[in-house]
Symmetry: C2
Subunit: 656 residues, 2 copies
């Protein structure tokens, strides 16, 4: 991989950026005075404002622009809901325990760490230079035994490299085999580890005073939206398609979080669930508006061939060639890109990667991730999946709730189908409280299965069907209870379960990537970092800098503050005793795009200088002109270049 | 209590309002298709927008206006933090179990329910009319045995009434006595209940893969702010006073939640921690700006006298007479009122109630609640407490972190004091990992105690001090380890722990109260409800209503939508086939303040009618004039009366 550079071509040094972010209180480890808890971070004022501004733009770009129905649903979630959604059984990572020390490792990370160490040892033994990932190295210095310079067979090296390339694809059994085959041990003590066991990543708790209602903190906001589907459809006056959206925290009990904000236990998500009719090719009425947007795509086929070469392509072409499954999915990919660019993501560090077939949930039709390039590599920041009808179907089957759309047909439809009649009188007494569940399971039987069951019922006088959660999971039904017949039905109303296209944004990951993409330092002084946020997301838009503590500056600063506040523009006064240059340098690190200097000239004639963060150029004009220029810069109606051309340049002031 | 009425003098009927809120999807029970979980609610689109607008105004009114430092801290909180803050030991309610049925009751609610039932039975027996709280009655019909008409002695009636009046003041022992004395039983089965036990109201979970890091979901956002104090003070360049603020969810595992949004298990809070120097009377530099604000105050003394009569008083007078403890507390009370009125709270249903001494935490200096009158009675919606230096002190003592302010003295100070010297060489090896804790405990010893300990050390050659969490909780220190001497010190730097004034807002409670305060129905048709939100908080500001589905209206609606969106004004188009009157009625229930009708005249001459929700009056003018009027109405620069006077009235259209 090529060295990662800033917009200005400087090499990205993560440790310098991290020290800036800490110093300026963008974010920091939570509970630090208590020693901290890994995977938990707090946002200080600039991080908090940056996050709020990203969310505000997100809301405007998606919810307002597309009339989405925003909901705010509960984080605490009862067991049953997440059992149905599959999270109780499948939302897990594999962990290994060292029985002697009690240490717990995430199995894939352990394999990775050990094999990488061996490959490094091999390189050393061969006298090659070892590429050092500083963070990893620093950790190892503290904890692990030194890498041993041991030469490996070429074949072993190739094997290790292949394993590492697809480490994400191993399940528990696969990881257990690797650990056995390669004798993977605790790198700290060299002691053996137990075989991997599944560790569910949801935080568990108990709702209410007795412990009989287990619950979890939600792992995604999506389920709350699915459960409200029927209500939202009503609210939308039965009109399809429509989207719901939700912004809120979700939780993931990571085994051993690392990589700062990129892998945390509590995180802000913004998720859209776009409900669409599965028939008619999932067209989107506004697709033509985005069809010329060029995306950098990394397709499944290219990845299969072992390459990571992206291809630039209009989304129109990607959909028409079938690379992207349908217009609705394509529409959202384009809109996601437009959003990311709007908040300041570097276009050259953005790609859309298609999921491999084994990465996708079995029900998904297609899935693309918007990935951002950071010093940690390419990071998934937005997932955009076609979840098909999976979630609505499982909840409908479990609860019997009508999570469907009913649409009057223009022309009635004749349907030949296998129908099942239930003898309600006998059914109730027979199944009692399980009745609804059994009925839902019968309702959910496919036509093919019904045909087969009809024959069995005819032959044996009884059939057996699967009903999860009732008795042994199998329920016997005899001729007295049900009847299965092929009949013709005239369908006036079409009933269908919508498919769901889900763009899902990890706000913390986007925020961190944006920090990396925005960072550079003044070529004349490396210690002077700058965060070049676009004005719309910058935590503070304007810094007000009085030349000194002189009394006469105060009313001017107050008046400017008040006028900016009325215009809805966030500003700060820095009247500390540091030099003007120092004060501006501090605010370059905070990403404040504009500065107004208040000096003795200002007191005399009410003119002010306006400074641009990125160029450090200044103009000077009347109060009214300066405020108007700021408003138009913040609203994105003018660029600094526009302003600089029309207002007189100012060069008089020494800034350092 | 007088009957609760709407702004228009109608009697508030909660069941009608609740049905409206459900129908219009303001909020609804979470997980309803799974049977729901009590105390958990989801917000639908209008509720979500209302909440977002309240938060937006809150942020402008408090954070931006006062340059507060906003932080976003973690909900998951390790045990140790909440142990120190006192929540692990004291954040509990008392619960009683029926050993036979397994039912669990909140002890005070149980006593209340049973005694109230007996008082009702007494009234019935005396042939008096029983005042019926419909909700309670409905519940009882389902669950409880019928009230028995049994006459009680007059003395018993008086006793019951006294108990009920102060039911909030009983602790576990007190409740146990009541249950025994009055033979309180399970009202459903008449079976006995066990004595009350404390139930901690925090949701517990486990952080990380091993179960050795217990944690909780935070019960308030405050602790995260306290722990960041040092960082925030640095960020603020050591300037005092300053405030931090945080908006986020907190959790409370209620034993048996009831009263809808007023008592829930997961709720949005907005909390301010204003850090102030305890010396100098806690003056506030902007107090003069608010001193003439008149508040309706219910003082501690009046409550003690058995009355609930409020007194209207300027906050200036309340502070100068000492009724409100200090300027900073008074400043925030006034600002809280201004905020509540701004979002549309009914001034006649707002009061500030001072906490009784036994209601306050032992460390609090003073505490006032902003209470809003609803159909459930007066509800605490904002608490405003002076938490003194309690929280910073306990965290400092526990961790040794310097959660203090250090200020250079204008003139050095001579201090006579007892100093303790520690022999670091012996201290480390003696206490090992506990060293820091023991040292912090020594540091925290008061001057009085030091004097006594100096004598003991002199006499016995050793002393014993309390150190929580180390060994048995007692640590012995001998002459070799420490020395205690009275010395004179010249203090150039003053070090102090700031006091904290904490305005804490329950957003859900405010939102629900606001819904009640905003609701009324058209006098000519009771079924037509209206929610009269101020434009600033209304979920949608403008409804666009084309006269019919006619093609020619569509481009006009689209253009108006786009122009409103650009102006940052949320609008909706309703082009359903319902009559104009029905569409407006629907949006009166959603609280949409303005409506634009698009008709054939609009197509011809680009004029539109603008309708006001509250008066249903309309004006007609050009597109530009209408849009300008809406902008100025939403920004609060003009009232409808202003607009109506300057634009031509329109009466032509039939709305029903």
């Amino acid at each position: 991989m090529a060295t990662l550079t800033t917009k200005t071509g400087q090499v990205v040094d993560r440790s310098i950026l991290e020290s800036l972010l800490r110093r300026r209180l963008f974010y920091f480890p939570a509970f630090e005075v208590y020693g901290g808890v890994s995977g938990l971070y707090d946002y200080g004022p600039p991080g908090c404002a940056l996050q709020a501004n990203i969310i505000d733009l997100w809301r405007k770009h998606f919810i307002l622009e597309e009339d989405m129905l925003e909901v705010d649903t509960t984080m605490l979630t009862p067991h049953e809901v997440l059992k149905t959604s599959g999270h109780v059984d499948k939302f897990a990572d594999w962990m290994c325990k060292d029985p002697k020390t009690g240490e717990i490792f995430r199995a894939d990370h352990l394999v990775e760490e050990v094999l990488e160490a061996r490959l490094r040892g091999d390189k050393e033994a061969r006298g090659q230079q070892v590429q050092v990932d500083e963070e990893k190295e620093a950790k190892k210095k503290k904890k692990a035994k030194d890498t041993k310079a041991v030469k490996l067979d070429d074949a072993v090296v190739a094997e290790y490299e292949e394993v590492l390339a697809q480490i994400d694809n191993y399940d528990g059994e696969g990881l257990a085999e690797l650990i056995k085959k390669y004798d993977i041990r605790n790198p700290r003590t060299d002691g053996p580890v137990l075989p991997p066991v599944a560790f569910n990543l949801m935080f568990q708790t108990s709702i209410g005073p007795s412990s009989n209602m287990p619950g979890y903190l939600r792992p995604e906001t999506a389920q709350g939206q699915f459960l409200s589907f029927q209500k939202l459809l009503d609210f939308n006056q039965q009109q399809m398609p429509f989207a719901s959206a939700s912004i809120g925290k979700s939780f993931r009990n990571e085994i051993s979080p690392r990589s700062g904000l990129l892998r945390v236990r509590e995180f802000l998500m913004a998720e859209i669930e776009h409900f669409v009719d599965p028939e008619g090719g999932k067209k989107h009425p506004r697709f033509h508006e985005v069809q010329d947007e060029v995306l950098s795509l990394l397709s499944r086929d290219v990845q299969l061939s072992g390459s990571t070469q992206t291809e630039d392509m209009t989304i129109g072409k990607a959909v028409s060639t079938g690379l992207v499954d349908n217009e609705t999915l394509g529409y959202f990919l384009a809109r996601i890109q437009m959003f990311l660019l709007k908040i300041g993501v570097d276009r050259s560090k953005l790609r859309f990667r298609q999921h491999m077939l084994n990465e996708m949930a079995h029900y998904a039709a297609d899935c693309w991730d918007a990935e951002l390039l950071t010093s940690y590599g390419w990071i998934e920041c937005v997932g955009c999946a076609d979840r098909s009808a999976y979630d609505l179907t499982v909840h409908k089957n479990k609860t019997g709730a009508p999570l469907v759309v009913r649409e009057t047909r223009a022309e009635p439809l004749k349907v030949e189908e296998w129908q099942i009649d239930i003898d309600k009188k006998k059914f109730g007494p027979r199944f009692k409280k399980d009745g609804k569940t059994v009925e839902a399971a019968i309702e959910a039987l496919s036509q093919d299965l019904r045909e087969k069951l009809a024959l069995d019922l005819e032959k044996d006088g009884k059939i057996e069907i699967d009903v999860e959660g009732v008795g042994s999971g199998k329920v016997e039904l005899d001729k007295d209870l049900i009847k299965i017949e092929k009949r013709t039905r005239i369908e006036h109303v079409r009933e269908y379960t919508p498919n769901v296209i889900e763009p899902s944004f990890g706000i913390g990951r986007i925020l961190y990537s944006l920090l990396e993409h925005s960072y550079w330092s003044r070529p004349e002084d490396e210690a002077r970092g700058v965060l070049s946020f676009p004005p719309a997301v910058a935590p503070t838009k304007v810094l007000l800098v009085p030349l000194s503590n002189h009394e006469s500056f105060r009313p001017l600063c107050q008046r400017l503050s008040m006028k900016l506040r009325r215009a809805g523009i966030a500003s700060k006064v820095d009247d500390s005793s540091a030099s003007i240059g120092k004060r501006y340098a501090r605010n370059d690190e905070l990403g404040t795009p504009f500065g107004i200097t208040v000096d003795f000239q200002s007191v005399k004639d009410n003119t002010f200088t306006l400074r641009d963060r990125d160029t450090t150029k200044q103009v000077r004009a009347s109060e009214e002109e300066i405020l108007q220029a700021i408003k138009s810069l913040v609203d994105g109606e003018e660029t600094w270049e526009d302003v600089r051309k029309r207002l007189p340049e100012f060069t008089g002031q020494e800034l350092d």
